[in-house]
Each structure stands twice: as C-alpha cells, then as structure tokens.
Amino acid sequence: MSKKRIATVSLAGCFGCHMSLLDIDERLIELLQCVELDCSPLNDFKKFTRRCDIGLIEGGCCNEDNVYVLQEFRRNCELLVAVGQCATMGGLPVMRNAIMHGEDPLRECLDEAYMGSAKVLNPDNQIPNDPALPLLLDRVYSCAEVVKVDYQIPGCPPSGDLLWSVLQSLLKGELPELDWSQIKYD
C-alpha cells in the first residue's frame, strides 16, 4: 500500500493541537510507516509539493492570510479535517467577536494591547500596520464558515489518543463517528 500524504497547518491557533499530535509519542514511529508529511510547521516544506490525501487544520481564521492558507489547503487536500476547538468553532480567539457592552470589540482589543498606557512606548499612537502584516478580519471565523470541511475533531486540544484513533480510521478511508465520551468541549 502506498503511503498516504498528510499536510498540517496552524492558522489562528496556539500550536496546542500540533503538540497533541506529537503526544502520540512512540506511535509517531508507527505513523511514519504509513504516512508521508507534506507541508507542515513540523518540517521545512513551506508549500505543497503535491496533492495530499489529508489536510489537518489547527486554528480558525482571524486574518487574511489564514483565509488564503485555508483555501490553499482545501484546493490541495482530498479530505480536510478541522482539528480542535479553534478550527471547528473559532475557539478562544472568538472572545473578540463579542465583548460585553462593546460596540467595536476588535478595536477594543487593539487599543488595550497597543495604545494609551504608561507601560507602552508608542509615540505615534499607532497600531501595527506594516504591509508585511496580514490584515485582521472583522471577526474570527471557524474553518467551516470559510471552506467546506469534511470532518471535525473537537477538544482544546483533542488528546493525542483521540487524534491517533481518528487518524487510523481516516487513513483507512473511514470517517469515524466519535463516541460521546470522546467529544470534549473544554
């Protein structure tokens, strides 16, 4: 059997889901026998080298680059999997979609971080705006709000054991139904 090709990416996430994937520990060695890794933060491939069987997405979309990369993954992957709370529902960053009594929550977040405080040196009172930085979206989106997603794994992060069991099924071409005990929205 030829090896399946997997690509992974972290969009607006914290790398926790990638770390959870590494938490399969010794099983990484086993994984390597049936899988080849295409572009991923864990290696030095910056772009897709060819079409992939599975794309694992960590994180939702909070800036324009996240959207481009997600669309790129959709184009290049047979099966697109949203891994973890941020990818499936936006996760913790969606706290900036609604702040109580706030008219413009994103503006409030930027102001709090960069403006008007004795702890911050910002003589021009500017929020980072260089063309090298991706533009922020009006709000944070889950992956399924941006592209078609084939499978979702909840959890913050989903445990290494869960990722392992799901991956084994996906590699066989099955979309496993998760038992209620495996579905954790923490």
Partner: protein, 323 residues
Amino acid sequence: MKSRKTRVIEIEPLTRVEGHGKVTVHLDDEYKVSQARLHIVEFRGFERFIRGRLLWEVPVIVQRLCGICPVSHHIAAAKAMDMIVGVDQLTPTAEKIRRLMHYGQVMQSNVLHFFHLSSPDLLFGFDAAPQRRNIFAVIKEFPELARQGILMRKYGQEIIQHTAGKKIHGTGAIPGGVNKNLPLKTRDALLKDVDQMLSWAKNALEIAKNYTLEHRSLVETFANFKSNYLSLVRTDGALDLYHGDLRAVDAGGNTIFDQVDYRRFNDYLMEEVRPWSYMKFPFIKSLGNLDGWYRVGPLARMNTGLCFTTTGSMKTIRSAIAI
C-alpha cells in the same frame, strides 16, 4: 537609471519554531542587507479578553496564548490571581505541585526544541536537503536518538498531566493554590524513570558539546551577538525555574539590576510598539528602547544565575563556559 526601490526577500511561513512568524530581509541599491525583520503575524487580544472575567478563568484563558508553553502562562496568571485573593504564601504542597508542573513544562519544551525541532540541523547540517530537515528524518536515520527524544518529551508531558490534569491546557493551578495532589503511587511511577531521563539528557548535552567543538568557527560566528539578559533568580542568586526576583545583566555579565520584586516589573521594563510586528518590543527602561532589549530563556538563565543547585549542574555549566 537604477531603481531606488528596495528589494525584499520574504521567508514565510517560519517552520520548526514555536509560534507564527515570518522574516523579511530588506536590500538596498547595492543589494546589501539594510534591515532584517522578524514579524510576529498573529494578533489575538488576550489583554482585553481577561478584563471583566471571573478571576479563576484567567489562568485557563491566558494559557491558550501558547500550546507549547501553556503551563508557564497558566502559572504566571495563577500567581497574579494569588495576589488578588490575598494569598502571599502557598501551602508547601501547593508550591511543590506547581513547581513540578513547571519543571515538566520546561523539560518537554526544551526537549521539543532540541530533538523535534533543532536536532535535524545538528545531525544533518543547515544545508541538508529540506526533505531531511525534520524529526521524521531523524526517526529514520537515528532511530534510537529519536526514540529518546520522544520519550523524554512524553515524560515531561506526563508530569504536566499528573499535576495540571491534562497534557495541554490543564486546570491545576487555581487562585491561591492547586486543585489536585500527586498520589504517592503516581509519584513513585514518575520517580522510577528519573534516572533514565537524566542519563538521556546528559547524552543530549554531549551531542551539543561535540557539535560545538566540531563546528567551532560556525558556532562562534553564526547568530552570535551580544545582548543583555534577564531572568528570575533566587534570593541567593541561584537559578530558579518557578519563582524568584528579577535579575538583568549586560553582555559583559555586569549587573543592570538585581533582586527586583517581579511584581514591580513595570518600574523597570517597558514595551515599544513598532509598526511591523504584532509583537511588542520589551526593553529595560534605564537603557532606553534602542539599547535596552534583552534575551530571556535558557541561555539568559545560564548567564544571570550566580549558581546552580541541582546535582552535577555546577560542573556541567563550568565545562560549557570553558568551551
């Protein structure tokens, strides 16, 4: 006529690092490097998120800054919440559990950096083909070494799981203490593997030492630059991975400030906003924003610590300094 336009080389995304970044190298008319910039391209807004939240939520919210070092953020927030609930002294058990949690964190994160992310550069060289520069090639070509790295990271993660409740984004530290103890059975199970971990760690240190000796001219010039250093140290100046006061030294090892209560960090440190990164640029106030930048982390801790108190560590450090 020659174009006045600067040329910019982009390296994006950065891989095998902890975080979202890209590098741009700006060239002048003669194609010489005029600026090299590391852009942190992620902005989320935690500073605002935690305002108005219940105080027990803060340690579980802010740890989501980073899934690689969540425990450090978790504990920093718990310490801040300790002050709010008026706890200036943890119970001895609570302090030990939190300490152990953070030791697990430091172990898994350093192992991740050394084995999973950096070891391909040490084993295959910077110029190796991109296909080889990853942990999976290390598994293929140095299976035993890769296995050691994987099991050492696992050990650190298991310590975190037993003290925080989960390997990533646990809930162990709460305002005023911790919410679980370490059963003796678990403690003994962890102790059983300590000697093995220590011997593998020494083995890894040997790899780094030999690499340094064999590539002396590269190590002396590549990414070698002078800077200030900052870390927490104990009252007696010893290295500490959980608690202490702030100590900053300059490139020559001279003290900039010492034994500063960390709760007064705002009096000594400040952050600058620059337009090309969402990350702010911290600096030591007394040195100003241009000269006051400093390094933190393992190297800084080696340079700020006056002594090291674990078995054999003083000898190890001396031999590293000798090299």
